[in-house]
């Protein structure tokens, strides 16, 4: 078996274990309020981390002003209550147009 397939299978196993751990071990128990408060805030924290790192890339090597402009278009149009899909399409359109310049 090639290293590629070994890597794919290992990542699949690790991913399964990571997702299984919380549900299997914590189970049906209610968490204490403080822990629940932190967990409720994991969503905004990790989403902000995902967006920022995807934009900046390793060591800020990937940062691209056309992407920043596209993200602004997505954010502003969403705040103006445009549907999600429309916002993503507008963001891609804005970035594509700016790259034409």
């Amino acid at each position: 078996m090639s290293t590629l397939w070994i890597a794919i299978l290992l990542v699949a196993l690790v991913s399964f274990a990571i997702k299984a751990a919380g549900p299997a071990l914590v189970g049906g128990r209610r968490l204490p309020p403080r822990a629940a408060g932190v967990i409720a805030l994991l969503a905004p924290a990790l989403l902000a981390g995902l967006v920022l790192t995807d934009f900046a890339g390793p060591g800020w090597t990937k940062a691209d002003w056309t992407v920043a402009a596209g993200l602004s278009v997505a954010g502003i149009s969403y705040l103006l209550r445009a549907p999600m899909l429309v916002c993503v399409a507008l963001a891609a359109l804005a970035t594509a147009l700016l790259r034409l310049l």
Binding site: I18, K19, A21, P23, I39, V51, A56, Y78
Partner: protein, 226 residues
């Protein structure tokens, strides 16, 4: 995304709404893996078995960087480490014994998890599962299309297909930030953490580190968020 809508049907709507970006991201992954010499079967098998875009991109990037299997698996694991706290978060809303909950926990992917959040750390199990079931064939099918058609980096860049992923996650973030002032502070702190960390540690670790911003929640008494 209206978090007040609940149940399987609401999840299907979520899955369809994120279906286009999911499909496009799948195409992007398939094309990238193909250009790295993975062929056609391996990218599709990877999407089916790993089923996590960010981990798969980390794996492919890392393997292409020549760091070997251990480093590549480590990088993908770090990127996916966020599913550990996400899994803990949904745990009490899943059904059945340990084994069944372990399998239901596989439905945790970013978009479904964020959309299934009902506030105060409660999750809509049916919405979570059905949203993921709708995304799965689109993700795997997109990968197949990408590996078969293999669009060039230049085409991906020109049509701004690389915008789809960050724009989509930004919208999910805005949904979360609408929940409370505290959520906005946490998001700002997490962004600052990630911006700094990505200068010194791998991207996967920077994402995990940004999760530390949620510790601001310790200052709140019971039921304070929202």
């Amino acid at each position: 995304m209206a978090t007040t809508e609940i149940g399987y049907a609401a999840g299907v709507r979520v899955g369809l709404a994120v279906g286009v970006p999911t499909f496009v991201m799948g195409v992007t992954f398939g094309a990238m893996a193909h250009s790295l010499g993975w062929g056609t079967l391996a990218p599709v098998a990877c999407s089916l078995l790993v089923f996590s875009g960010s981990a798969q991109f980390a794996l492919a990037t890392s393997l292409a960087g020549g760091g070997g299997v251990a480093l590549a698996v480590g990088a993908a694991a770090m990127v996916n480490a966020r599913f550990l706290p996400m899994g803990v978060a949904v745990a009490s809303d899943l059904k059945g014994g340990r084994l069944r909950r372990a399998f239901e926990g596989q439905a945790v992917v970013d978009a479904s998890w964020a959309a299934a959040h009902q506030g105060n750390g409660r999750y809509d199990r049916e919405k979570l599962i059905s949203a993921t079931l709708v995304q799965a064939p689109l993700w795997i099918g997109g990968t197949l299309v990408g590996a078969l058609t293999a669009p060039s980096d230049e085409i991906i860049h020109r049509f701004a297909l690389d915008m789809v992923f960050p724009a989509f996650f930004l919208l999910l973030l805005i949904d979360e930030m609408r929940e409370s002032v505290q959520a906005r502070w946490v998001a700002a702190f997490a962004a600052a953490l990630a911006a700094t960390l990505t200068l010194v540690v791998p991207v996967g670790l920077a994402i995990v580190g940004s999760g530390a911003a949620a510790l601001l929640g310790l200052r709140a008494g019971p039921g304070a968020p929202r």
